[in-house]
Amino acid sequence: TSHVSVLGEDGSAVSATSTINTPFGAMVYSPQTGILLNNELLDLCWRRRSSSNHRPPPVPGERPPSSMVPSILVNKAQGSKLVIGGAGGDLIIPAVVQTIMNKLWLGFDLAAAIASPILHVNSKGGVEYEANFSQEVQKGLQDRGQKQTQQQFFLNVVQAVSQEGPCVYAASDLRKSGVAAGY
């Protein structure tokens, strides 16, 4: 998955997330067109009724559930905006949530809000910590009964552009060597 955030001169904005789900998707290549095919139907595997493990069969034309959240936050009174989205499968939502909290509630600047290590809660309620996540906080959470789970793959990536009055800030995730551009 890749995410692009754009803010134009007139204040219009676009948040767009595009996806090949898992690295290289279905790993099927079309040599005549040069196109790699995604494995989107894999996302039907997560579609279960809330109380059972039953998965209803696919329906032609159905779109599988997705963690993609290209979003735009607008504060008309202050002339502020945050154009944000992320990549990384089921890490997308926790990564975007923690970036928004860092930026809007904790007062981080945009780059720091994105760079700050995240935590993730897996489907069994176990807590997974990205490398460099505060050891003190991890200890404090364990004292409260939170169960820690090891996880080596953290492919979360967030891109965002923010407007604060006359000031425009843009940040791409250094986890994927991203660099933003503006003028």
Binding site: T1, S12, F24, G34, D43, S66, L155, S172
Partner: protein
């Protein structure tokens, strides 16, 4: 009396003089002291996951392209620089804010289930994890239709102009991007890639291409040139689509030209939820916007701030509430099904944005994190780690 009158006049004049000096100072200082920090831009910006693609997006803006034009150009580029992450064989979701109208719309061009698919497909889930390789997992690609619809509704520059920068990139001395080369040489992925049809693109003999190796991908440049001149129709009803379908069928897939021809992106209003002084606009199911809104709505009620997390105990407390809220969100994922195919979940997401559910969840959160999974309605597995 005269003396007193004169002194009042002088005081008034002095006051006026002072006021004038202060005003002039304020204006001069404000001119020099910009309210923006050094890394700010003055007009516009693009944030993509590579410098070259952010630069391509910015150049489109500077050619008076619309933000949608810039986004499309940056996405086309990202499909070449980070093909492990996205490309024309996938799907895209746009959330678009129009500053003139204040309207926010979502264009969902995620792939759909084809008319025919492998029998017992979902019985293969456990076996397929975590990567899901093989033609049986291929949906109907929506990417280009999504670009075309976004451009039709919000484009300013000619369609072809959005593809030129990436075509030039590919037609030039294109080298293996560093991030891509890391994925190619990853010990877990490399053998899978070598044994797939991607070997012909990414390997030199038995070795994957390394960072900065020449990376000739001229067949994709030709595809982009065809799309640039003939539009997305070349893919969805023309010879590009036919070539794609032939290649997939050759590998055992069941995609048809009919699947491509009937693919339509969906244009809907964004979900809208007040979040303090902001309004959060996000994509509705089957995307994750309702879950994102639910999490932020619950957490907003705890009023975290820089002050409240200044001490360690405050940070632990905030992350504890985040973890508990993420667990409750996991129990709500069943609401993300596609409402077009599952009428029974038609309005399930609206409840996620409501204050009643948020308040109810806040009351379920206490100082302990070791409740049973049923406390959060956490069912089976969900989501994959990659993407």
């Amino acid at each position: 009396m005269a003396w007193g009158h004169r002194s009042i006049v002088s005081l008034v004049l002095l006051g006026l003089g002072l006021a004038l000096v202060i005003t002039v100072l304020a204006v001069v200082l404000s001119r020099h002291h910009s309210p923006c920090s050094p890394q700010a831009f003055a007009h516009a910006a693009v944030a993509a996951d590579s410098k070259v693609c952010s630069d391509i997006g910015r150049a489109i803006l500077q050619q008076q392209g619309s933000p949608v034009d810039a986004t499309i150009a940056a996405l086309v580029c990202s499909g070449v620089v980070n093909p492990q992450s996205m490309g024309l064989g996938g799907g895209v979701i746009f959330t678009i804010y129009n500053a003139t109208t204040g309207k926010v719309e979502v264009i969902n061009a995620r792939e759909t289930v084809p008319a025919r698919f492998a029998q017992g497909l979902l019985d293969q889930c456990e076996l397929a994890l975590p990567l899901g390789t093989g033609t049986q997992w291929i949906g109907v690609p929506g990417e280009l239709r999504g670009y075309a619809e976004a451009h039709r509704r919000h484009g300013r520059l000619p369609w072809a102009q959005l593809f030129q920068p990436t075509i030039a990139l590919l037609r030039g001395d294109f080298r293996m991007p560093s991030v891509l080369s890391q994925f190619l040489s990853h010990k877990f992925l490399q053998p899978l890639l070598y044994n797939s049809t991607l070997r012909q693109l990414f390997f030199n003999g038995t070795k994957p291409l390394r960072s900065q190796d020449p990376f000739p991908w001229s067949v994709l440049a030709t595809t982009l040139e065809t799309v640039a001149t003939e539009g997305d129709q070349a893919f969805y009803t023309g010879r590009l689509g036919q070539m794609l379908v032939d290649d997939i069928v050759k590998e055992g897939g069941q995609l048809t030209m009919q699947d491509l021809a009937t693919f339509q992106p969906e244009v809907v209003d964004a979900l809208e939820m007040p979040l303090g002084n902001y309004t959060l606009y996000s994509p509705p199911p089957p995307s994750g916007g309702a879950i994102l809104s639910f999490i932020l709505n619950v957490l907003r009620g705890f009023n975290f701030s820089a002050e409240s997390v200044a001490q360690l105990e405050g940070r632990v407390n905030m992350y504890h509430h985040l973890v508990e809220t993420l667990k409750f969100a996991g129990g709500q994922r069943w609401r993300q099904w596609d409402p077009r195919s599952h009428p029974e979940v038609q309005n399930a997401s609206q409840e996620l944005l409501g204050e009643a559910l948020a308040q109810h969840i806040r009351q379920q959160i206490n100082d302990r994190g070791d409740h049973q999974r049923s406390h959060y309605n956490l069912a089976g597995d969900w989501g994959h780690r990659m993407g």
